[in-house]
């Protein structure tokens, strides 16, 4: 019992520590750099290029926040974290943002005392099959052997999906994604299942990607988004509105190419004016941001669509659920008013 009490006390201590870490914006400004926690390497989301510069969809978001807060998208210091260490790194203050394709769940939000500031990528578990099997839908997979990572939520989702559709399957348990690729390539399993973005990345790593297809069914919800610590609402607001500004820019047709021009002229659409600092945006000073915050974000990083196309189109990932609501997707952005 004593040990339990001690542990509870220490965890409570960290939560308390998190809540007194207000003034994140001042810390970042004083340091002149934003500390961002990213993936150790995930195709499309975070990976170093040949020169050693981090690139990717999650990395772009770190840059966007740096552009809004510091005026320079390159003032980011990246800390890599694995799935197991990411939350403690954030809690310990090793970074101000965790931008590492993290699924938003109840317990992560509430129990770990973190704030999910929104969803920047709607992912979900999918299936990949060789085209020569002639399978068009996941509902035709009865009796298939499936490569599945053990000890993950995908394992449970798979069991539920097959049971729900009255189908049987032979699980081929594997430990890592790399192992799964090899087994799948060698034909040890008919189907490989993991998050759809991971399937596309795996598919692109094959020598003949066109011989494989990702089936249309998505069997789980994986809303991925950036995370900040509890306790600093100003910082959480800044980070969440940077994400919304990028999406809003796409909605209003503001791109890195035309943003300077639009910011200089008086636009018919007053929301563009407010976003780009032409007209006053009430409450902006409370965030501690300058009027050109969104101009910096869009001119240096681009809008949501630009970031998506730059990083995820090479993996043949389509917008799908990640399109704006008006294009049939799920991104519905609160107005900038």
């Amino acid at each position: 019992m004593k040990i339990k009490a001690l542990l509870a006390a220490s965890v409570a201590g960290v939560m308390f520590a998190g809540s007194v870490l207000a003034g994140t914006l001042d810390d970042v400004r004083a340091r002149g750099k934003l500390n961002c926690i990213i993936n150790t390497g995930l195709a499309g989301f975070a990976a170093p290029d040949d020169k050693g510069n981090w690139q990717g969809f999650d990395v772009d978001f770190c840059k966007a926040v740096a552009a809004a807060v510091l005026g320079d998208a390159n003032k980011v210091s990246y800390t890599t974290a694995t799935g197991k260490t990411r939350f403690t790194k954030l809690a310990a203050g090793e970074g101000e943002i965790l931008s590492r394709n993290t699924t938003w769940t109840f317990s992560r939000d509430v129990d770990l005392a973190q704030t999910f500031i929104g969803v920047n990528y709607y992912d979900g578990q999918g299936f990949m099959v060789p085209k020569k099997l002639g399978v068009k839908s996941a509902k035709e997979l009865d009796g298939a052997s499936v490569c599945i990572q053990t000890g993950t939520t995908t394992e449970l989702n798979l069991a539920e999906f097959f049971a729900g559709n009255n189908m049987k399957y032979n699980p081929v348990p594997i430990e890592t994604n790399a192992e799964a690729q090899e087994l799948y390539k060698a034909g040890r399993c008919d189907v490989y299942t993991t998050d759809a973005s991971g399937l596309y990345a795996t598919k692109m790593s094959f020598d003949n990607p066109d011989a494989h297809a990702v089936l249309p069914e998505i069997v789980s919800k994986e809303p991925l988004g950036p995370v900040v610590r509890h306790g600093d609402d100003q910082w959480a607001d800044i980070v969440s509105w940077v994400l919304r500004a990028m999406m809003s820019a796409e909605e209003k047709g503001i791109t890195s190419k035309n943003v300077k021009k639009l910011a200089a002229q008086d636009n018919k659409d007053k929301e563009i004016n407010r976003l780009l600092g032409k007209d006053p945006l009430q409450g902006l000073s409370k965030l501690g941001l300058s009027a050109d915050w969104a101009v910096n974000v869009i001119s240096q990083v681009g809008n949501y669509a630009e970031s998506f196309e730059r990083n995820l189109y090479p993996l043949t990932i389509v917008r799908g659920m990640n399109a704006l609501y008006r294009d049939g997707g799920l991104h519905y952005i609160p107005p900038i008013k």
Binding site: L42, A43, A47, T79, T82, T85
Partner: protein, 371 residues
Amino acid sequence: MVFDKNNYSPGTHPDLPPPLGTVGVVGWLKNNLFSSLSNSILTLLSLYLLYLLIEGGLSWFVVDAVVNANDKPGCRKIADGACWAVIVKRFDQFIYGFYPLAERWRIDVSFCLLFVAAAPLLYPDIKFRKYMLVFSCIYPFIAFILIKGGLFNLLMIETNLFGGAMLTVIIGVTSIACSLPLGILLALGRQSRLKLVKVISVCFIEFMRGVPLITLLFVASTMLNYFLPPGTNFNLLIRVIIMMTFFSAAYIAEVIRGGIQAIPKGQYEAADAIGLTYWQTTRFITLPQALKISIPGIVNTFIGLYKDTTLVVIIGLLDPLGIGRAALADTKWNGLSTETYLFVAVIFFISCFAMSRYSLWLEKKLSTDHN
């Protein structure tokens, strides 16, 4: 008497050459490869397998390999073999991680100085050893300032930019250098007649050996954050090095204890008889013999430690293996796992093989056996 050349006095005939077919290449082949029917069959079979391996491997490794391309499709356009371009393009990253390009000379200088500093420790017969030992003592500080910066107009480099082979060498060499003295002290402590010292040593050794290294690394990377007051910036790299040092020190201590126990009792009795103090006995009698006996075990532990540094990948540090994985996550190079992992293996093999060769050399040099 007249001697013709075929007429020798008894015992003066020169040795005749051995019969043809028992010496030279033919003899060797006959003795080793074709000494019996089954051996001959095995030899031919092995030769055939070797041929297959070389033929297939060579074309993949060398003939069809591409060294100069900008991405994987670029490689495939040229040939179907290994795409070494991923290594060529990212060689710097494999070595220096994300260390700023303009500052990399500091790593090179530190690395070269490492050999100067290590030479008097590794080779006891070297010239000017006394002066060089002084340098060895101050080298850690020089290296720290050079690599980390922040003093003497050197740009301060954040440790999250450290990576690649450089990170392995920093973690490996520091842990190895620190764990040997610590291990010796622990081994002596465990043998000590002072109760408190003994208990502390035993507890430390048993705890460190009873816990997997990966657990210690998790403690370093996550648990310590909980126990330290918030806002303390206790560098992750230093935490990792400390844990690695403790872990290998516990093993070293046990290896050396084995060496100490192998020394005949008469040695201690003789030392006592001529009135040597405890430290004198330790310095002149115990350690020189115990360490010599323990060399293979010590080097074994060091090689193990050096390879274990790859475990830092799990807590998010990018050693060569981590850099390799990150390279595979780049959409340009996605899927070239064989090439990447082979290269990482080569990096580790070179260092570990060098260590093992050195230990063999040292054993021979210190050998006092009469053979």
